[in-house]
Structure formats: C-alpha cells, structure tokens
Symmetry: D2
Subunit: 341 residues, 4 copies
C-alpha cells in the first residue's frame, strides 16, 4: 500500500515517517509539502533522516491518485482548509492536528482562536482515541492530542465506571519540550528552559475541551477539569498526574477492577496499582503506562500516566488508527525499541 504524508518536517511528521517506513504493510510513503510549489529533497531539509526522498508540491488530486490514504502532520489550522477535497471524496485521512477534534465549532473558536472547519466536514470526523474506539470503516480520523491522550487514558476507568466525584478532577500535566515543536521561542531557549520549570497556558490549554468532550461521552456529569501544564527540562515525554476524589463508598477493589477491566486486554496501555511509572520507561515506545492508588487517608485516587508525546501522543497513535482503518493487527509496526537508558 502507498500512503501519503503531508508535513514531514515537524517533529511528529518525521517520527511518523520513520514509523511508516518500518511498517510491514506500507510499500511506499509519498511526501508532500503543504505550502510549496516545487519539489524539495528531503535530505536538504532533514539530513538526519538519511533518507533519499522528494517532498512533492501539495496537490490533492495527485495525492488521491497515488496513495490509498494520507496522513496530515501539519500545524493547527492547516487541515481546516486542506482536508476539504479529501472529505468530499471520502478519501481516507488521518489528521494529527487539532482542527477536527472538537465537535463544537464555538468551543473550537474559543480555545483555538480560529474558525473551525464547516459543520458538514466536522461531522465526518472520527475522534481516533485508539484504545477505546475503532477507525475501521472511518474515512476521516482526527488523531487525539498528546496531553489529551495521557489524561484521558488515566481517567477513563474511573469516569466510565462512575467511581468519582465528577467535579473533582485535577490534572497536573508535565511535558518535555518536543511538544512545543521546532519553532524557536523564549520558553524553549536552552538557557531559559534548562534547570527550570515553567507553567504555560494555565487553565487555557486547548486540550482541555478535548479532554472534557471525551469524558462527557462516558459521564455527562463531568463539567470540567482543573488542568495545568508545566514545561520540563527534558525533550521527550508527558506525565499526567491526576488527583480525583473517589465517591465515598468506593473501595480499592472497585478502583482496581475498573483499571483491570478497562485495560487488561489493551495492547498498549498498562495499569498497575501502587506502582507509579517513570517517564523514561515509555520513551521511544507507543505504550501508555499508568500507576494508580486510592489514598486511604484522603480518599483521593492518584493516577499517573506517562507517554512518549511524539509516539503514543501523536505518530504512534496515528499508526494504531491506520492499523484499525485497514484492519491490520493492532500492534503492527509498533514493536519499537525503548530508549534505555
């Protein structure tokens, strides 16, 4: 099978490209720019990849003609415009950007400060939370955000099973710098970031509505979450530390059951009671590791999840959705070598 990839030059795009090149069912990957009119050599832009390939000018007809599906790894706001011809023709798309994640155009506008895609396009989008939904038969997959993935996977068992006070969810999320991408900024200037901790977008991160939207599908009583993001002096990975009041009658056994039932058959999510994961144990992999504990003193449940933001939080989950879309094994192309040490 031939697949197209629009936007290889960003961090997620280049990681996705490598995964596709290693995927047993992918014969070739055709690269496209989204804002260029001439052919560029990949080596001139990303010599580190050591791959000989051309980045072709963006041309929807050409993409649809030469590929069975296309990935978009473009910046926020790009697919709102670019995806139209593909959706019009029901051509399979997996979109790593946030444009099509929110079902409400008003909510999108509020958090992204941009106009959302038109409703008729938005309706075709499937939120590809790969461990809970299937992209089989879907044509437009909106791949979840990195913080959203880590947080939703941590909270899912508790929310789905109504074990908690739905107004009590606190998430202290921590991220390395690669989530901020290649764009230079003071926040990610080495002398500023190193040996430092910096909060950003407190109460304003655009993944908040994405998380709440999903949690509401499981328990409509979840009105909001308290969500904070802190930038850490490391490159890869996200940790979501969650603190939630258990309902009074809930026991350790209830909590344990909820995690076991939810994840015991899951290929990529591992949940363990009383053992909290380190960030590094998932870096370089598509795993989401979760530790949880009901604190008997506070009756709060502490849930900590870790993911590699560029894999499980982006390109890896996109491959999960790709595997679902084309009915391959769930873990195909994702038996990755962890970064140890």
């Amino acid at each position: 099978m031939n697949v197209g990839l629009v936007g290889v030059t960003g961090y997620s795009g280049s990681v996705l490209y490598e995964l596709l090149l290693h995927h047993p069912e992918v014969d070739s990957v055709n690269l496209y720019g989204h804002a260029q009119s001439e052919i560029k050599s990949l080596e001139s832009v990303l010599p580190q990849l050591r791959r000989r390939a051309n980045i072709l000018p963006y041309d929807p007809a050409d993409i649809m003609k030469n590929n069975q599906m296309v990935f978009f790894a473009t910046s926020a706001g790009v697919t709102t415009e670019l995806a139209k011809p593909f959706i019009d023709k029901d051509f399979p798309v997996i979109d790593l950007a946030g444009d099509f994640r929110l079902k409400s155009r008003d909510v999108y506008k509020k958090w992204y400060k941009k106009d959302a895609p038109e409703m008729k396009y938005l309706e075709k989008s499937h939120y590809g939370l790969a461990d809970f939904t299937s992209s089989k038969g879907v044509t437009y997959v909106s791949n979840p955000g990195c913080y959203a993935t880590a947080t939703i996977l941590a909270l899912a068992p508790l929310v789905k099973n109504h074990l908690i006070d739905p107004t009590s969810i606190v998430v202290d999320a921590k991220s390395g710098t690669s989530g901020a991408g290649k764009k230079l900024s003071e926040l990610t200037h080495f002398s500023q970031t190193n040996e430092n901790l910096q909060l950003y977008k407190v109460n304003q991160h655009q993944h908040i509505p994405e998380i709440v939207q999903q949690l509401k599908l499981w328990d409509n009583d979840v009105p909001y979450i308290q969500f904070t993001t802190t930038l850490l002096p490391l490159t890869r990975g996200i940790m979501a530390s969650c603190y939630i009041k258990a309902r009074p009658e809930i026991t350790e056994e209830d909590v344990r059951k909820s995690f076991n039932q939810t994840y015991s058959a899951d290929t990529f999510v591992n949940a363990t009671e009383g053992v909290f994961p380190t960030l590094k144990q998932v870096v370089g992999t598509n795993f989401c590791d979760i530790g949880y504990q009901l604190n008997p003193v506070t009756h709060q449940i502490v849930v900590v999840s870790v993911i590699d933001n560029l894999l499980k939080g982006a390109a890896g989950q996109a491959i999960q959705n790709f595997n679902q879309m084309f009915e391959y094994e769930p873990g195909l192309g994702l038996d990755l070598i962890p970064t140890l040490p």
Copy 2:
C-alpha cells in the same frame, strides 16, 4: 559573634557555611563533625569551598564554650540524641533536620520510622517557619523542611482566611535532586534521572504531617492533604503546585486580599495573581515566589510556589531564624545573587 556548625559536609551544611561566612554579624564559624574523633581539614573533604578550616571532633561542652549558638545540619535522627545537652543548658540551637519538627511522638514514629526525641525535649522546640513566627527569645529552633516550606507558604493565606474546602487540598510537588543529598542511589544515578520523571514516597513523604500540623494551627478543619512528590532532572529547586476548591461564595477579590494581606510586608515571599513563577527565578536566593489564580470555570484556586530548596528550604530560612533569634534585620546576610541565567 562566634557560631558553631555541626555537619558542614552535606549540601545544606555547606550552603549554610557559605551564608554564615558572608553574614555581617558572624565573626567566626567553628565547624564540628558529629561522628569523628579527630580533626579533619575542611579542604580535604570539601575542596570546592576553598576555605581553610578544621572540622573539630564533636564535643558539646567545647561547642558551648566557644560559640554563642550552634547550627545542626545533620541527617535525620542525629539531633534526637545530640541535642540533649544543649537543650538542658538552654544553649541556642538551630536544627535543620526533621527530628524536632513534629509535636507528636507517635506521628514522628509513624512517618520517620524512628523514635522521636523525648517529650521534655520536644516541648522546648520552636517550629521556625520564619515568615509567620519569630525565633526571638527561642533557644531551640526546628527549621522547617523544604517541601513543607514551599507548600505551607503557598497555602497559608487561603487556610488562615478560611477561603477553601479544607478537605480538598491537592499538592503536586516537584523537586530537583539536591534535596536527596549526596548519598548515592539508583533514583539519582544520572543515566536514570536524566530525561526522566520519577515519583517517590507517594502519600508517604515525611513532610506531609509537618504540613498538616502547621495548617491545623490555622484551621483545625484541615484533616489531611493529598501530597505527591516527583523527582526532576535538575539540581536545585522545588515547585509546589497546589489545587484547592474555593468555598462557593469566595471571589477573586477574596483570594487576592488574602495573599496581599499575608505577604505584602514580607521580605522574602512575593505573591502575584495570574502570573506563575518559574523555578529558576528563585534559585540562588532566599525568595519564595508565588503565583495564584481562581479558575472561574472549576472554582479551584491554583497556587504555585517556588523556592531554592537549599536556601529558603534549608540554610536560608535558618539564617532568617538566626536573625530573629539575635534580633538582626530580617534580611541580613541574605541579599544573594540569583543564578541568572
């Protein structure tokens, strides 16, 4: 004035030694080991300090004869035994360890897994939370723990003014490695710590009862806190991110007033609404910087405090207590040069 220092070789001890050498009211600092019977040269143990001095064998009578007061910067459990002769003679001590912080011997035993000092000694101890109490006239100051300092300073205005649901306090504390001291451990092995996040002592950190003990003095309805510590790949500093439900009727104005009233006259604590501090802005200083915000959506108050764990969280606060004890200016010897960048 001559001061004694027992335990110069640990991180807190050596930082304290430097502060004392720069303190305008200190004429000389005499160093003592707590487990040695011969004189050692400081240079042989800590050449980085570039100071010529001897570390004398431990001898209480000698310490009391040659100094007007003594600092203990020893590991947990040491002053429980060593402090007795000083307390018996009402000789001024500032103790940086945790032995005398908890008023209840049972609580101490439970969290420290050691026997607490005898009650008659414990009763003489003053918890030296320097921005809220005074060590004037005190002979035995128990200097607060680093996490406790960051957390209590963040929560004080809200707890004292009863603005919050006292059962809702969540603290996600983050620390660099220097808090773990010089002792080698897997947790702080570079290949393990670097590019990693590691939780430790979840729900079991010995600063939890210290924090609760202090909060209860302000609001006896605070039954517990939900408190987690994460080890970060950096050396200096602690950030305490606190999430607390505001009481329903509380407004932004109430929150702002509580912080302003509490800290507007404080030399070392700065609280700002809506601006969250970076860790590095306090490293190398004795400041505690705080940012806070009432989230109108969740009605939770986010409070984030940052300190240098070895200064405000240890040696710096010890100097504050020293200044109070001898009625010097509060900031004497603490006009430090920040680590910028």
Copy 3:
C-alpha cells in the same frame, strides 16, 4: 537460529537483547546470568523491557547445546574465565567486553590491572572492527570498545594513507554517562554530573592501548596517542574530536580522497568534509558520522566522529559482527529509528 546472551542486565546487554529480538534471522534468544544458580524472570530485573523471558543459570554445555552462538555482555574480567570452554570447542562467541581485545598480555595487565586470558585463548580472538575486518569464519570475536570505535574510525583514513605526523595525534573524547554503566558512583551522581564536566582516567583510559594497537597495524610508526576523556551531562553518545598534524605536503584533496576511499562504500560510516556532525544525529542508530577539515592556517586536520556508545560502540557493532559471522547482509537488523528530536 537460536542465540544465547550472557549478561542481559547491563546497559549494553539490554540494548543488544532488543536488537536480537528484532533481528530477522534470530528465532529465539536465550538469556543466561553469569553469577547465578537459579532461574530469574527477566521482568523482575528489567521490567522496562516488557519481555517475558527467563534468565537461566550459567551452564556452558547447556548454552552450546541450545544455541548456535553466544554473546557475552558481561563486565571486564568475566570472559577471561568464562570463555574457555567455548573456545576449546570452537563455539562461536561475540564478546562485548575488553578481555580479549589486546594481543599482549603485558599490556592488558598494565591497563586493566588484571590478568589477561591465557595466550592460547587470546590467539583465537579476532578484533571485530566491523567496518574494516570481517568476522566471517571467525569463532571468537572481541567486539571493540566504544571510545576505540569512535576514535579508530575517525583516524583510519589518515593513518592508513600515511597523511599525518604519526606522533601528533591528539584525541579529546567526550562521553555521556551510559558508558559508565549502571553502577552507582560519585562521578555519575546526578547532582554531581548535571551542569558539570568531569575528566576521568586522563592518560590512563584502557581504550588507549586498544586504539594504538589497531593504528599500528596500519602504520607501525604511530607510537602513541594523546587521549583524554570528559564525562558530559547527557546519557547517550560519544564524540571523538581529533587533531592531527598533516604531513607538510598534504593537501585538502589528499585528505578528502582518503576519507572518500575508505568510507564511500561503508554501510554505517559517513564522512563529510567541512561539516561537523552533532552527537544527536547518530543517537539511536548504528551510524558513525564523521566531519573533517584541514585547517589551512595550522595545517592540522580536525576530525570529529560521533557514535551511539551502546549501539555502534557496543551492541550495534556486535550485530555487524554477527551478520558477518553468519554471512547475512551487513545492515540486517540495524535499520533503527533515530532519536529525533
């Protein structure tokens, strides 16, 4: 094919294990401890690998019966004893340790402060510098050291082609901490290593004689090298910065030719004139990237090589030797995904 692996728990061993599990020609990997008498589960020792396997007690007969070859990833000094029965039976071994690298027992003793293997065993050993020699038909491969690999690959074209003053070789090598392994030490204590640079084993590193031994094979006039190692605050990777006086008549063209001729057909070594590699461009891969330049002012040649110490400097090169030994494609099992960013 079944392969055995003795010593999976160290950093090189666990990386090698992952490579073997991903190698298309390896059917199964049997794990053996070298100092244990009972079966241990791999998960209990290395849960991060997420692999279900047993580490079997060390038993040469058993190893030879159940495998077609065996890798040793044990600490220095172990294979000196353990390898004997395998060599006696001409059973294929690839040894990642330093025991069999030096041809002279005296030199080994001087640098390793240990007794070398007996001469009759040593004679059977092949120094597996995979880009210059072939392990085809070899039974005992001694896999090169990490610093030795980086340095020899940087110098080879110049030494082989006699372009330089052989007494002028200066190597300033820089390494991350993973080369020092899992063993705790002050040098690799995070608070000590972070934001620091530390030289170690100046003029005394045991890879010095290994490098000189190889260079002498190409130019017996190389009497020694000036070699220094500096430990850096990062985990993976080695950079060898080499400075060598060009012979007076040597031109840029001569230098360029020597690198081109040596490496143009090499799968894993890339040499570029005037462009110096970053360390990170090889991390996670088996590549050795080299930049070189003849400085027209000093007439010194600057050559900088970078490798991932655990891959090209250990487990990756071991796979190269494995591929040679069994006549597989040179790059089989080594199409790895780089760590980007």
Copy 4:
C-alpha cells in the same frame, strides 16, 4: 562612587549589575540603554532581578556628568561607535565587548566582518587581562573574551617560559549555552541542544586572533593555535582543554615551576598538577581553576582550565579591572558564593 552601566539586559550585563550592587565601593549604579530614547523600568525588562531602577536613555554627556566611570556590556560593534566621546574626554570605560580587543584593524575586520574602531581610538585601549596586566591609570579597558580568558590563562605559564613547541598548541574548548546570549537560535533551541553536542565556528571563532595576539606578546614564535568550540547541554561555564608538545628537554619539574611561579600569588587562578578541575567547581565564582600534567608517554602537556563564562569570562574580570583602575583590593566585591551543588 557612582558608576554607569550601558546594556544591563544581556546575560553579562545583568550579572555585572548584581556584582556592582554588591561592591562595597560602589554607591550607586546608573543604568543606560544604548538604543532607546525613553526611560524604561528595569523591572519591566528584567523582573527576576527584583531591583527597582530606571534604564535611562543613552546620553554620553549625562553619563559622564553623573558617574565616575562607565561599563559597556553591549553587543559586538556597538562600542566602536559609542565609545568615541568617552575616549575623547579620557573618561574611564570598561568595555565587555570585543570591539577594542584586537590591535590590528585588518585582523578585526577579517574575524568580526565589521569595521574596527579608528586607529586613534584603538590605540587608547588597554587589553585588561586582569591576572597579568593592571588597569591602574588606564582610561579605556577592553575586557577579554570568555574563551580567550580560559585559554590564555591555561597556556600562559608554558608560553611565557618557552617550554613548548609553539606550533603545536591545540585547544578543544567547551561551552555552555549562556555564552551565546539571549538571542534565540536553532543551535540553542532546547530540543536541539539537550542531549547533544554541537561544534560551531570551527577554525573561525573570533577569539582565536585575540588569544594569538596575547600569546605572541609572550612568545612571538607562536604563529597560530588550533582552536575548536563545542556547545554543551548546560548553561554556565567554559572548559578549555589544551594539548601542547613540550620541548624535548622539558621535565615535569619545569612545567610545575612555570605554573607555580605564574599563579602562586594570584587571587583568582589556581593551578594544580595532576588534578583536573570539574567545571562546576568554579560556577558562580570568579576563579579560574587549572589542572595540568606532562604525559610521559606522548611528551604532551595536558592543561585544562575552567571558568564561569559570565563571571571570570566577563563581569567578574570586569570587576577585577575596575578594582585595578581605582586601586581597590584585587578581590573586592568578588567573594562570591559558589553554586554547590
């Protein structure tokens, strides 16, 4: 005494400002911008400094009227123009930039790609290598560059005493990111810098002619140096690792003597035989620590020097020059607290 400071907002400028505020002989520091026409509050630009002060518009007459001397901590090329009125009036200036360091206008043009100051101004400039020269009676001090300081101090004893082959000097210099300043660049983007090593300006660094110019004053036979700079994933500090061929007859004793004679009376330079300094032991201080060793095998001398680039390599040395200029004690205002750990 009142001093002026032009350019407080850069890293060197803000460190210098702190040093001046702590200097016992400085009564007040007046701040000036070099490219602004209105008063700015320091707090709006550098809130981390917690200092209330105004940055005044640049006005030479005003500066000379209100201060006894002025520091320039501006970017390269600025003082070439701005210094003129001060030099015309013989008003004391200490200039931290590179504009006036090179005595040859041609050499300056070649390495800085800019026009040098006019000769009549350049002639008034004194190269303030504070451990070897005195700024007493001088009106225009050109403060040395950071790499130049580390390198020259390492080489001085050997060059002055003619112990080496003057054509054999190799310097492998390593630097943290703060030397690159506040300006955003790909090289210092955290995701790029972290876990990485990057060479830059190989054979082209503008401190090369500065070093050679000084070495030639001591031994005119030094024709050039081989000098390389590598950017490290840390913020503060420079290490210069130097490798130099000793003249054949030179002994360990000769080398030792040269360092002892040169530095035994120096306040800030410490040289030790056979013990190589760590970078961190000087961070936060004005010290230059040096380790050296004659390698008996290669007859090369290894000399490694470390400095804090913003202190000894910039603001600290500027204070040394200030102390010389006004005949204060050499170490006045420089008894700094090291960053330990």
